[in-house]
């Protein structure tokens, strides 16, 4: 489907700034209507141009007429997202964020922040499985406290032993794991957290203006990632609840959780694929919070030259200081 403006026939898109549907051609708001529902996927229903897509693509932009096309069958039925976090930052906001962050990056290539390059940023709705665990942590062990004091020329050490018991329930809500093969897992983890308070029920028009994917794999297949996050958090909380001991000897420790509740959601990510010397340097920006993940390409020659200059400057400065004070 394509969302068309009732007033001018232009492509109506969701505007993060206005927080509603918007036609960039006639500037009408909330004037969208669905057209070309359940159209064939190979060609653009608007201009007839051939579009390229993958087995997971659910939304794309036609390279010819630049209309945003949403594939109905990939957002319906089993693939219907339960909820969505909308893009809160517009493309202009994100360009500004990237400029601010990397302005002082001396070693980035000179065109890294150029307008032309930054305009290639795309907003993508990434499929995520969200897991809720009702975990139970139990611990039993021996804790030791040591106290030392000195009277006269004798040092006393008091060693006290405690029986330590912990039993707690931890209600984990919304541990995310991305269900997209093309998105690197560790990068998606670094983009966290999202504010789930702003998660709302999914509607197709929210995708107009952005790229998107259906989930690439089922919830059970990537559940181990969420489970590992849950277990590591639970272990930390358990550890934090046992304080004040010099040493701790565990006798029994167990972190268990029944199968989690899952939900399919779309989360917003801005992607800047910068290419330098034929290598791609992708940058990812959390479309809700603005957190930026990615590292700029570094000119090694430049770094070495700066390092050598710094060394020379410091040496000369210290020698001169030595001459002055001696």
């Amino acid at each position: 489907m394509i969302f068309k403006c009732k007033n001018c026939g232009g492509n109506s898109v969701y505007s993060p700034e206005k927080k509603r549907m918007y036609c960039p051609f006639c500037e009408s708001e909330n004037s969208e209507e669905r057209q070309y529902e359940h159209a064939r996927m190979q060609i653009c229903p608007n201009c007839g141009g051939e579009v390229s897509y993958t087995e997971h693509t659910s939304a794309l932009q036609c390279p010819y007429c630049e209309n945003y096309i949403i594939f109905d069958e990939r957002i319906e039925g089993a693939y219907a997202p339960g909820r969505i976090i909308l893009f809160k930052l517009s493309k202009e906001n994100v360009k500004e964020l990237i400029r601010d962050k990397f302005r002082k990056c001396t070693f980035a290539p000179t065109d890294f922040l150029s307008e032309a390059r930054l305009n290639t940023i795309t907003g993508e709705y990434i499929p995520f499985w969200i897991y809720n665990y009702d975990a139970r942590c139990r611990f039993q062990g021996e804790g030791v406290k040591r106290r030392t004091w000195v009277t006269g020329n004798t040092e006393y050490t008091e060693t006290s032993y405690y029986h330590v018991v912990r039993d707690m329930n931890i209600d984990f809500q919304g541990i995310p794991a991305d269900a997209s093969v093309k998105m690197p897992d560790e990068i998606m983890d670094l983009l966290e957290p999202y504010n789930y308070g702003e998660m709302i029920p999914f509607r197709p028009e929210y995708m107009s203006g952005f790229l998107g994917e259906k989930y690439n794999m089922a919830a059970e297949i990537i559940e181990n990632r969420a489970h590992a996050k849950m277990e590591s958090s639970a272990a930390t909380i358990l550890q934090q609840s046992i304080k004040g001991y010099s040493s701790l000897k565990p006798a029994y420790r167990n972190i268990a959780a029944p199968s989690p509740d899952t939900e399919f959601a779309l989360l917003p990510v801005w992607v800047y694929r910068y290419i330098y010397k034929e290598k791609e340097y992708p940058f990812y920006v959390n479309g809700q919070t603005g957190k930026i993940i990615g590292s700029t390409p570094v000119s090694k020659a430049k770094v070495w030259a700066y390092g050598a200059t710094l060394w020379a400057c410091l040496t000369i400065a210290l020698v001169l200081i030595a001459v002055i004070i001696m």
Binding site: V164, M168, L190, C313, A317
Partner: protein, 301 residues
């Protein structure tokens, strides 16, 4: 296009290091001005004491040739002006040990070291040596060549006394020991040069610390800089253990810390009293028979 990037890169480079370059410029000018000022002031420190004789080399043992004596006088004159201390060399060939010597020469003691010290101190005091005033800044090297009682004593006074600890005295005397058998002239001049080196400044202590700083600090800083910029990080983790916990905290069903038992052990503390010496000046402090403060030490061969 390529040229634009190069120009831009050069501009960035100058901008990045501008404060460094300006700072170094200021330091260089300061250092030059100070060096010039020092050159004009360094050698004009006037000798204040006019009571002492101008002779510095008393070769009673006759171990130096006339030419060597003159060379030593020259050396001493040059170094005295530099460090503002009198440097006196006395050689002798006379018994200083035993009851017989004590009676013959009227010493206060019968032992070698006390008498060497007395002779050196008295010689210094009786000739009113001292660069700033009589009994003032200076050092006297006394070398005895009497067979079986050979050895050297260094008597320090004034600021040499303040500066010379046991370690420095020992090293000044070792300079004599190293050459005395083959070449007395070299032995005495080495000792005088060592005294000059210590007195002429902070060179020995502070110099090595600074040299170390100059070698290590820039390498460490440049290494850290290069290392951190070559390895760029993608981002920081901003989730915590409680990010996804409903209400931010767990529900505690059981939290018990039951005391089971305790025991107390005790240990005697070993007290050790050790003192460390050396360094810091005023080595071998004493008062001479004339009532003036001296320092010093001896090496017997």
């Amino acid at each position: 296009m390529e040229n634009d990037f190069k120009r831009e890169a050069r501009k960035q480079y100058w901008l990045f290091f501008r404060f460094w370059f300006i700072g170094i410029g200021i330091l260089a000018v300061t250092a030059t001005v100070m060096a010039m000022a020092q050159n004009t002031t360094r050698f004009v420190r006037e000798r204040q004491n006019m009571q002492a004789p101008s002779e510095r080399v008393y070769d009673y043992a006759n171990v130096l040739t006339d030419a060597e004596e003159d060379k030593l006088r020259e050396l001493i004159a040059e170094k005295e002006a530099l460090i503002g201390c009198d440097l006196v060399l006395v050689t002798m060939e006379q018994p200083v040990e035993g009851v017989e010597a004590k009676e013959t020469y009227g010493y206060r003691f019968a032992d070698w070291e006390s008498n060497m010290q007395d002779i050196a101190d008295d010689f210094y005091d009786n000739h009113f040596f001292g660069y700033d005033a009589p009994y003032g800044d200076g050092a006297l090297l006394l070398d005895n060549w009497y067979e079986g009682q050979e050895g050297t004593h260094l008597s320090t006074c004034g600021k040499v006394f303040d500066k010379f600890g046991d370690r420095e005295i020992d090293r000044a005397l070792t300079c004599v020991d190293d050459y005395i058998d083959s070449d007395p002239y070299s032995a005495y001049s080495a000792s005088i040069l060592y005294i000059t080196e210590v007195m002429s400044g902070e060179k020995t202590g502070l110099g090595s610390v600074f040299l170390l700083l100059i070698l290590i600090v820039p390498i460490a800083a440049a290494g850290t800089f290069t290392g951190t910029h070559l390895r760029s990080k993608e981002g920081k983790i901003t989730t915590t253990a409680t990010t996804y916990i409903e209400g931010g905290r767990p529900v505690m069903n059981v939290q018990r810390d039951d005391f089971v038992r305790k025991h107390v052990s005790q240990r005697k503390i070993q007290t050790s009293s050790s003192s460390s010496g050396g360094g810091g000046g005023r080595g071998g402090a004493h008062v001479s028979s004339g009532g003036h403060s001296h320092g010093g030490g001896s090496h017997r061969r």
